[in-house]
């Protein structure tokens, strides 16, 4: 794939407007992060968005809401990543977050069987309640600690295939598969003008007109 995961190496928000090449389409997707607390949801996102792990930039205020733009072939994809609170007690609030989301990453910790079970319930719930076209990815995080893993790769892989999920084992610490999982999601997402779930997506709708009007 001839894709650059980090659009021109710029950090988030820089490449939101496709000024220039006329064949570019621009899409915006809402991606929700689900998973038990302490499985590394926000680390994963920070790694994806900022390329960091632990050494945080001062400018990063929070890791709960982040955006990142990537280019896939001729399309600019902007991810809007919504983190959710993983604690059990806030579980019931999740539907508010994944309402209208086009993608979801369900994260579990490969050292923690419980978190995998929770991930399964998330998946089930998403299938039941989220928009039908939602792209779900399962991420077994902390893959750098695979020597003390509890959840087997094959087990998870099998589960993912059964449920039609993207699956990768990731490591926010090493950066393994982090960009890949987002890229895989981006590829799987429908990039035509009528994205499901979004009510109004002006940027996506207007891609053709944009080229006509703003580049004179």
């Amino acid at each position: 794939m001839a894709t650059t995961p980090r659009s021109g190496g710029s950090s988030s928000g820089a490449a939101q407007r496709p000024n220039g090449t006329s064949q570019n389409k621009s899409c915006q997707f809402k991606l929700v992060l689900l998973g038990e607390s302490a499985v590394g949801k926000s680390s994963l996102v920070l790694r994806f968005v900022k390329g960091q792990f632990h050494e945080y930039q001062e400018s990063t205020i929070g890791a709960a809401f982040l955006t990142q733009t990537i280019c896939i072939e001729d399309t600019v994809v902007k991810f809007e990543i919504w983190d959710t609170a993983g604690q059990e007690r806030y579980h019931s609030l999740a539907p508010m977050y994944y309402r209208g989301a086009q993608a979801a990453i369900v994260v579990y910790d490969i050292q923690n069987q419980d978190s995998f079970q929770r991930a399964k319930t998330w998946v089930k719930e998403l299938h039941k309640q989220a928009s039908p076209n939602i792209v779900i990815a399962l991420a077994g995080n902390k893959a750098d600690l695979s020597n003390i893993r509890v959840v087997e790769f094959d087990e998870a892989k099998q589960y993912a295939e059964e449920n039609g999920l993207l699956f990768m084992e990731t490591s926010a610490k090493t950066g393994m598969n982090v960009n890949d999982i987002f890229l895989a999601i981006a590829k799987k997402l429908p990039k035509n003008d009528n994205n499901p779930g979004t009510v109004i997506k002006p940027n996506g709708n207007e891609s053709t007109q944009t080229t006509n009007n703003c580049c004179k």
Partner: protein
């Protein structure tokens, strides 16, 4: 606008209807028409203008795109645009000056509308409506939007359309459903978004400008209709508000620990941030448009992130954030929470709450509220008993550490309050000492003033200028009197007196310059006068005195008995109390005195008034005369007094009866009932009776 709405509901139905009489409601915005008639009229108007105008604008927009863009970026784009148009149609109307027309209308009215209005109400009927602050702000914003004028026109008409739709729905008598209303608004948003993105009128605008236009659309409509759409009466929002508020109050015991969140309540810096977040959260209610409410939410959440960043040392995840937000909501207990949330949910552009940072934080806020509403023992990790105990208000502190912490906290609070109180006390004491000081100063001031006045009075006793009579008059009078001799009878006396004094007056008017030079003479005259009057029954024709002088004193003489009486009265008063006040007062009245006297001497004027002056004249004249009079004059005085006693009988016989006695009698009679305009002490006339009989007073020598 907002202010106008409420009273409008109380206006008769007829006034609300469209002026065209189509039966729909009219709108002031629509120039009193309903939206349909208004649009029709506009369309007609526009069509009429279109032929010439469209051609031109198109040319401008397409052929010289660069120029247009440049022009657009200018703030005055609209002005220039209008100026252009005005140039194009000089026969239609004169160029509309923005300054005069803009403030009158609610929005930047497209030139077309202004022209319509102008032609309709030529000059005499300017719109009385003054736009509110928000309206003028919107006008300004609309003007600044970087979209073509056509687009602005469309934007405005769309705003009015939705405005009208909302109002129509709200005024509809049928049962209302807030979801329908929400759908109506959402549909309008979608429609407008489509329009902005697909309509030719917005073609040259950039995407950003289109977004701004869409935002503007929403903001205006929502702000204008806030009172209709916010917590509508047919919803249960208000009950929910109260329920949530009560609930949060019940949950006041929840600490950060219960929520598993990492806010350090004891840290002062953290506290400040919590307070910042709380004030932002509370501030949500103070904004009208959903966007602003969302912005407020975002600011609140940023404070929380800042807080968490300090607490955890890195960017906080949702795991930390949501509990913190819940905590903040619990501590803030914002008013009308439900209404605000519902308002945003229903009436903001749906994409706004579904995506974007604002949407994310708003979702968090919603879930925080949902969590609070459904909160139970389990969700706080407590046992049911503990939870119940907390909810019933029993303070149960599970660990000594917790209770110690709480005690510490309260002690800290107490000490802070004490400090505050101390400060207040200090301030209070400062104020009270200030008051005392001021009081003291006031008293001191009064004393000083009194002293000063006393001193001044002592230093410069009031000098009375006696009647100034030109010497030639005196000589004239002397001559006159000499002619008549002592034979003048009482009746004659009066008439003579009058004619003479009148003469005096006339002459006096002409030759006032002389007066000054004749001061000394005047003195002597006055002295004699007073001496005469003070005795009362003195005859002016006393052989010992030069008769002409007496004659000049005649006006005074008319009232002499009275003067004597009042003198006596005054002496009695002054004997009792030698207050500064009375002295001062006396002095003051005396200042005018010589004027009065001279006037009256001229006019021979009314008894009441002159009497007043006279009654104070005598004593003071005497007093003042004491130092000023020459030796020979004092001797004169002495002789007169002597002679007074001697000539008591003839005086009463010859002179007094006619003018004086009735005067006094009248006066006393009136004082109780009819005299309306006595400006001075008339109250003591009861004492007159006694005093009259008294022997001649040693008048105010004590002064």
């Amino acid at each position: 606008m907002m202010a106008n709405r409420a009273p409008m509901l109380r206006i008769g139905q007829q006034d609300l209807k469209c002026r065209q009489g189509c039966g729909y409601y009219g709108n002031t915005q629509f120039d009193g028409l309903c939206s349909k008639c208004f649009r029709e009229r506009n369309d007609k108007q526009r069509k009429r203008q279109k032929a010439g105008e469209d051609h031109e604008t198109l040319k401008v927009n397409t052929s010289s795109a660069g120029g247009t863009l440049e022009r657009k970026s200018l703030q005055h784009s609209l002005t220039t645009g209008r100026a252009n148009k005005a140039k194009k149609q000089p026969e239609k109307d004169e160029p509309t000056t923005t300054a005069s027309t803009m403030p009158r209308k609610k929005f930047t009215v497209p030139a077309v509308l202004q022209k319509t209005l102008k032609s309709k109400f030529p000059v005499a009927a300017p719109q009385p409506r003054v736009p509110s602050a928000t309206e003028s702000q919107f006008m300004l914003q609309l003007r600044q939007l970087r979209i073509p004028d056509d687009g602005k026109r469309k934007l405005k008409s769309e705003i009015q359309r939705l405005d009208h739709e909302i109002r129509k729905y709200m005024n509809n008598n049928s049962s209302k459903n807030v979801d329908e209303l929400s759908e109506l608004v959402q549909n309008a948003y979608t429609r407008f978004a489509d329009l902005v993105h697909n309509d030719a009128r917005f073609e040259i605008a950039t995407n950003e400008d289109r977004e701004i236009a869409i935002d503007f659309f929403e903001k205006v409509v929502m702000t204008q209709n806030h009172n209709l759409l916010f917590s509508p009466y047919f919803t249960t929002d208000e009950e929910c508000d109260i329920k949530v508020q009560k609930r949060i109050r019940q949950l006041s015991w929840i600490t950060t620990k219960h929520l598993d969140c990492s806010i350090d309540e004891v840290n002062a810096e953290a506290r400040d941030l919590v307070y910042n977040a709380i004030s932002e959260l509370v501030g949500i209610d103070s904004y009208y448009s959903p966007q602003e409410k969302l912005l407020c939410t975002v600011r609140c959440c940023r404070h929380i992130f800042e807080l968490l960043k300090r607490a955890t040392g890195g960017p906080a995840s949702a795991d930390d954030f949501l509990p913190a937000l819940i905590f903040v909501v619990l501590k803030a207990n914002p008013v009308r929470l439900h209404s605000n949330i519902n308002f945003v949910n229903r009436f903001t552009n749906a994409s706004r709450v579904m995506s974007g940072e604002g949407g994310y934080y708003f979702t968090n806020l919603c879930s925080a509220i949902a969590f609070i509403e459904n909160l139970n023992a389990e969700s706080l990790g407590l046992s049911a008993e503990e939870f119940d105990a907390y909810m019933s208000g029993e303070p149960t502190y599970s660990t000594p550490w917790e209770s110690a912490l709480l005690a510490c906290e309260s002690l800290h609070l107490i000490s802070e309050n004490m400090k505050c109180m101390e400060q207040l006390q200090k301030r209070n004491s400062v104020i009270s000492t200030g008051i005392k000081e001021f009081e003291r100063e006031l008293i001191e001031f009064q004393r000083e003033i009194t002293e000063k006045v006393d001193m001044v009075m002592e230093k410069a006793p009031l000098t009375l200028l006696p009647i100034k009579t030109p010497p030639f008059l005196i000589s004239q009078a002397r001559a006159h009197l000499a002619q008549d001799g002592g034979e003048a009878a009482a009746g004659h006396y009066q008439s003579n007196l009058r004619s003479l004094s009148q003469q005096t007056l006339t002459v006096k008017g002409k030759e006032q310059i002389l007066e000054d030079s004749q001061l000394d003479v005047g003195h002597t005259l006055a002295l004699k006068d007073t001496s005469v009057s003070s005795v009362g029954r003195l005859s002016p024709l006393h052989p010992n005195l030069p008769q002409p002088d007496q004659l000049f004193a005649s006006p005074i003489f008319n009232y002499t008995p009275f003067d004597a009486v009042s003198l006596l009265e005054e002496t009695s008063e002054n004997d009792d109390v030698l207050m500064l006040g009375t002295e001062f007062q006396g002095g003051l009245t005396n200042i005018n005195y010589d004027f009065d006297l001279s006037d009256q001497s001229g006019e021979n004027s009314v008894a009441d008034e002159s009497k007043l002056n006279l009654d104070e004249f005598d004593p003071l004249a005497q007093q003042r005369n004491a130092p000023t009079t020459h030796l020979d004059e004092t001797t004169l005085l002495d002789t007169t007094t002597d002679s007074l006693i001697d000539s008591d009988v003839p005086v009463s016989e010859v002179l007094l009866p006619s003018p004086l006695k009735p005067e006094v009698a009248n006066y006393r009679g009136f004082s109780n009932f009819e005299i309306p305009s006595i400006s001075c002490n008339t109250g003591d006339f009861s004492s007159l009776n006694q005093d009259v009989n008294d022997p001649v007073a040693p008048v105010q020598i004590n002064k």
